[in-house]
């Protein structure tokens, strides 16, 4: 049984993350933890229930250790019940509405009942959505049965929301990287991807399973220009089993397969910096979920967003909401092609995705320019970490 400290409140922040989808939840919380530590000098404890999944994006992490430090962040193995001494800090973030450990709730409640105690500021960091209702829910309290207030913090695309995760120097780093084509060629070499010429089209693929991907792959084989599709082992590759004579689980990073003018490369997993650079280096990115979706926007390259599927096709409502703001100042021809290819991909509509991919190619230059302009428009002067720190200060 863990011990608890009820009277002392340290200045650190605790972030709790349950890993649901391998890389999404942990991807977001790891980026946030690193940024709070690096840019705001906050002592951050990151509690993660699945260090094995975490180690895929932080390869030097040892999944069997209870506690370790990377990038100035204290990473803890979060077992239930909590088997590590827990001391309340200044802020507690439950990422994506995960349920805090009972011991942590107990400490919060005990502190709340002590008149002179400082109670940690308790936040629920929610999922990113471009829907209108987010504006009205961001920053609202949620009084718990114990009387303790928890606050809902919604990331988002406008000033009324909690902002978007983006490190302070990210855009400069990306611009420098993209200014020199040697960088991308060097990265491809480093990743063991051979046969890519500097003018070839390179497309990264990190989606969920969908028949739309199979249709695009078939189309890319007949492309007049060589196309290289970079795909890590996992859910995208599972969609493409029919392309291989062997089981997709037997494929190894670095292997490549040529189908007409399409070369399919099996991509090794990489850390977050490597993933960003990969997105910066490709001509087009197919991404999924939340973390890679946002990083694809920051890459300033055109992309398809494969959104996490929800009941009753509700994910399409979220997709439409994002498409509406992304295409706000786009010419109708570009907007239609981009929206329809996204919709078709998400609906698994093979005929439509092929059709609209062709249309997208005819407007790719202005779409690329839009992708370059978008990050600064989307960021709205303040990123999530800075707004979050201010939100806590104002509380």
């Amino acid at each position: 049984m863990t011990t608890t400290h009820l009277t002392q409140v340290a200045k650190h922040w605790d972030i709790f993350c349950t890993v649901v989808d391998n890389y999404g939840d942990i991807g977001v919380t790891w980026r946030l933890a690193k940024q709070l530590a690096a840019e705001y000098h906050i002592a951050v404890n990151l509690w993660v229930d699945d260090l094995n999944s975490f180690s895929h994006i932080l390869p030097s992490l040892n999944p069997v250790l209870q506690q370790q430090i990377f990038n100035g962040v204290n990473i803890f193995q979060w077992n239930n019940p909590l088997d590590i001494d827990y001391q309340a800090g200044e802020v507690i973030i439950e990422a994506f509405a995960c349920e805090l450990p009972k011991q942590v709730k107990y400490v919060i409640e005990q502190l709340h009942q002590q008149p002179q105690s400082l109670v940690p500021y308790w936040l629920n960091l929610e999922y990113l959505s471009a829907e209108d209702w987010v504006d009205g829910c961001h920053g609202l309290p949620s009084t718990q049965p114990s009387g303790v207030k928890k606050w809902f913090y919604f990331p988002g695309f406008n000033q009324k929301t909690g902002g978007l995760i983006c490190e302070q120097n990210l855009f400069n780093e990306r611009e420098q990287w993209q200014a020199n084509p040697k960088n991308k060629m060097g990265l491809f070499n480093q990743l063991g991807l051979s046969g890519i010429n500097i003018d070839d089209s390179v497309i990264s693929v990190f989606s969920y399973e969908t028949p739309a991907l199979t249709a695009l792959m078939a189309q890319w084989q007949t492309s007049p220009k060589p196309i290289h599709a970079l795909i890590p082992k996992g859910r995208s590759l599972s969609s493409l089993a029919s392309f291989f004579t062997c089981d997709v689980s037997d494929l190894m990073p670095g292997q490549q397969f040529i189908f007409g003018n399409l070369t399919l490369h099996i991509l090794p997993m990489t850390d977050q910096t490597g993933f960003d650079r990969l997105l910066w280096s490709c001509d087009f990115n197919i991404v999924r979920g939340e973390d890679s979706f946002l990083r694809a926007q920051w890459a300033a390259k055109p992309f398809i967003w494969h959104i996490y599927p929800q009941e009753d096709d509700y994910h399409l409502v979220k997709l439409e909401a994002f498409m509406k703001i992304y295409c706000d100042n786009l010419a109708a021809e570009i907007s239609t092609a981009w929206c329809e290819v996204n919709l078709a991909f998400n609906q698994g509509d093979q005929h439509a995705v092929v059709n609209y991919w062709s249309q997208l190619n005819s407007v790719i230059l202005p779409l690329q320019q839009h992708a370059i302009n978008w990050p600064n428009n989307a960021l709205n002067d303040a990123d999530l970490a800075s707004r979050l720190v201010q939100f806590v200060k104002n509380s």
């Binding site: 629920n124 929610e126 999922y127 990113l128 009084t143 049965p145 009387g147």
Partner: protein, 186 residues
């Protein structure tokens, strides 16, 4: 205890030691199918208002106050007047009806529940499902019969409901008063 998802306008919940009447509920969906419920609340002791957000499965302490079955009688600005079976009349402030006000129409026969706090009528809860007539909506654009294509419709009383594309002016529709959603044509 009720989950936040089960809370309806007119319910009274205890928050931090005070009774609050729920004036409006708004349910939305966050990532991975999780429901988010936003509540507009009025403090029954202080007469002050607030908005709070909850996870759909959060437990809230709803309190059982005296309730009476009533029917709507008439509107005496700014009060809605309801009447019980013994012809007693109860005034409810328009503000306290929240979203329910959109469904109040003259001559309605729906059995409502008026809630009392300190002998004062503080809120009204409508039946979960009510039927109203569509008085205006655009004609069906594509002849859709699947029910997936939606459009706005104005109902008796002036409220707006998003309905299936096949719904026409004069149709009677069933509405879920908890969510304001169109359920079916009746």
């Amino acid at each position: 205890m009720k989950t936040a998802h089960e809370i309806r306008p007119g319910n009274v919940i205890m928050l931090d030691g005070s009774p609050w009447v729920v004036q409006k509920t708004e349910t939305t969906r966050s990532g991975r199918n999780a429901a988010i419920v936003k509540l507009k609340l009025k403090n029954l002791l202080l007469d002050s208002g607030t908005e709070q957000t909850f996870k759909g499965e959060d437990k809230l302490d709803d309190i059982v106050l005296e309730r009476l079955d009533c029917t709507y009688s008439y509107f005496a600005d700014p009060m809605y007047v309801f009447m019980d079976e013994e012809y007693n009349q109860y005034d409810v402030e328009a503000d306290n009806l929240g979203d329910a006000a959109a469904y109040i129409v003259d001559g309605m026969e729906d059995q409502c529940q008026v809630t009392f706090y300190n002998e004062k009528a503080i809120s009204v809860e409508l039946p979960v499902h009510i039927v109203r007539e569509v008085i205006y909506t655009e004609p069906s654009a594509r002849g859709d019969t699947s029910g997936k294509v939606m459009k706005p419709a104005t109902i008796t009383g002036g409220g707006t409901v998003t309905v299936a594309d096949f719904v026409k002016v004069g149709d009677k529709i069933e509405i879920d008063t908890r969510t304001g959603e169109f359920k079916k044509r009746v």
